[in-house]
């Protein structure tokens, strides 16, 4: 059973992580013809400087956000604000790019750091706040979208990035094991969230990146929220439900270790074994996973992985749809974002999936979902990294309890 195989020994070397990422950034900037990069999005700042994003509300994370500046051919990045302690950066004072006075400060600092590049140079930027637009920040530079540069550098992970994802997932798994023990009839969602958030801290994880999801699933789609797809609604905002013994709960969470995301997904019952029909959904899910695992290899097209997964569930399907939720995908990547490239089986369509291939270093979150209207369904997630000759599991080994893996 590949998903429960032991993960490889992955040791994080922070110095090597920083060196590799910075070298990739410089290489890609040259390829994209950029004189400088100005980064305001937290995960991008972390990629360039290792100044890690905070698990705060978006308004707080933005208000006095650190800013990273990477100048072509400079030996190390600049960090404006943030905590530079121990980081190999040229540090500059904090700015508040979301308010006009702070944005004006940022503009002045960028002019000083970029020199001639601020006047006619080609500068990649990932975001401008309204205040930066109002105060004319970089108005004399040629502006390019840094999203393209960042997408290129983060697509194939370094060994240390794999180690971070492995740590994020392993620690999240341990926190979730404690939550599962507390799931009994009558417990509230807030009680499960409380255990999870405490246990994350105890596992050395400071940042929970998404409000943890314990969604009780309506057994018939028609009894759940209305959707634009006519299919399932998941993951929704869900208030504070009280769980009953006959509930079926889809669990999802994402936390952050050293700037890299985990993605936990499981289906749980509430203090009872699954019904035979629920167990059958799980076994269909396992078959889909096995088929997808079998198709994952460097050089495989996205379409080949999707086709293998779909074929495995074909005996149960007459309507031509696929064993994952239509608003999502069979596979998404994970890294400095909880969902990033590659995406397999999305609404980008079959031509897109046929035209793209897996490459070593890509990290894949497999999340097929099986649904039998009236019974409910099974959904879980597993993370693997594509290697030179196949794939390895990351953070794996979390059991599928209370479902039984057939021998």
């Amino acid at each position: 059973m590949p998903a429960t195989a032991d993960a490889p020994a992955l040791e994080l070397d922070v110095g090597r992580l920083r060196r590799h990422r910075y070298a990739k950034l410089q290489f890609q900037m040259a390829a994209d013809g950029l004189d400088a990069l100005v980064l305001l999005h937290g995960p991008h700042v972390a990629y360039a400087t290792d100044c890690l994003p905070k698990g705060a509300d978006a308004t707080h994370a933005s208000a006095n956000r650190p800013v990273a500046v990477v100048v072509a051919d400079h030996p190390q990045p600049c960090l404006l604000g943030g905590d530079p302690d121990g980081l190999p950066v040229d540090h500059h004072p904090a700015v508040w790019p979301d308010i006009d006075e702070g944005a004006a400060d940022l503009g002045a600092q960028l002019d000083a750091i970029l020199g001639q590049h601020a006047r006619g140079g080609r500068v990649g930027i990932d975001l401008m706040t309204g205040a930066m637009r109002r105060t004319g920040v970089l108005s004399a530079a040629e502006i390019a979208d840094a999203a393209n540069t960042m997408a290129a550098v983060k697509l194939r992970k370094t060994v240390d990035e794999l180690a971070c994802i492995h740590q994020a997932q392993s620690r999240t798994n341990r926190a979730m094991a404690s939550v599962y023990e507390t799931l009994v009839p009558g417990v509230r969602r807030s009680e499960l969230a409380a255990v999870f958030l405490r246990r994350l801290r105890e596992e050395g994880i400071d940042a929970n990146m998404i409000d943890v999801i314990f969604q009780p699933m309506a057994r018939r789609m028609a009894d759940g929220p209305r959707t634009t797809t006519g299919h399932l609604a998941f993951p929704t905002w869900s208030g504070d439900p009280v769980y009953a013994e006959d509930d079926l709960i889809w669990v999802d969470s994402g936390s952050d270790y050293h700037g890299y995301a985990s993605d936990f997904g499981r289906t749980w019952t509430v203090g009872r074994p699954p019904t035979p029909a629920e167990q059958r959904c799980f076994e269909r899910w396992l078959a889909v996973m096995d088929a997808a695992y079998g198709a994952i290899a460097p050089g495989a097209t996205f379409a080949e992985v999707c086709a293998a997964a779909t074929a495995a569930d074909a005996p149960y399907r007459t309507d031509g749809d696929r064993p994952w939720m239509p608003h999502f995908y069979l596979v998404h990547g994970v890294g400095i974002e909880s969902a990033e490239m590659p995406f397999l089986g999305t609404d980008n369509g079959p031509d897109f999936d046929a035209a793209h291939t897996l490459e070593p270093g890509m990290v894949l979150v497999l999340e097929p979902a099986i649904w039998e209207d009236g019974t409910g369904g099974y959904r879980a997630e597993e993370i693997v990294a594509v290697t030179e000759d196949g794939w390895i599991p990351l953070g794996g080994g979390y059991p599928y309890d209370p479902f039984e893996v057939p021998r």
């Binding site: 109002r134 105890e202 959707t227």
Partner: protein, 313 residues
Amino acid sequence: MSLHLQRRARAVDSLAAAGIDMLVAGRQDHINYVTGAHQLWTAGTRPFGPVCTLNTATGEIFLLSTWDEGVPSDIDLDHLQGITWNGGIIYQRLAANPGMATARRVGVDAWSPGMAGLISAVAPEAEIVAVDDILLRARRTKLPSEVDAIRAACAVAAEAVAAALAHPGTDAQRLAAGVEVMALAGSSTPAAEPRVEGPMVDFSCIRSHYEGGLGRTASGAPPASRPHAALIAACVPGATGQDLRRAAPDGDWLVRGSGMGFEPPVINHRYGASEILEAHMVLSVSAGTGEEYARDTVLVTESTPEILSPEEP
């Protein structure tokens, strides 16, 4: 009228007065303000993307959401647009949005080169204007129901502060205890990062869209002699940022708006000297370090300021 419709009316009035035909919003706080939708909370900064549009002439809203769970009933299913991974679909939706093609001024709450190109393609005649300041100006003074929501959020944060102060363990253990109690009390989503550093403890949360928070030390309620108290007393209508600096000439402090998260004004020794306080603003007032630290959430009233956070957590 329900709270979110009152808020939307404020936003529409402000945008229309500035000649904005169409809002393209990507910031969750602005989206929450105008729609009232409860969407899944995620931490951290966001790239800019078109999550919600608002036509200021017709009031028509389109919201990126695959389901109607958490979405107020005035935004019907046919005005929800499902999650997509396809840039072509994003383009088609914006292009099909009534009023977009003829818009003269499109307001955005952030900007990126790629998204600016997309909006220019669907609204070729339009000037793209940053309107985050207009929305935040409309949000600056709070409606009575907003104040109630902030007070309730402060009570949740206060339970976390009390738990962390009472816990005998290490800072990390006290912080974990505070986070756990805050979730039990009603919020599993922080506003700022929680802090437990020796004697000082600070927790804040987002609860039903609104932020509440406070900071205390192990020695209890802050004495009236500290800069914190002087700053609170100075939070009266007409007071300027300069007035606050005179009230607390020394030490580190920050006075900033608090509502649907962190909001302007931002006033400290460096920024905000010319800001002018108004009745019905809600402010987070923090001052001091270590044993001297305190933070409260304060409502500016026509008379003396009202502290919304519990004095004794």
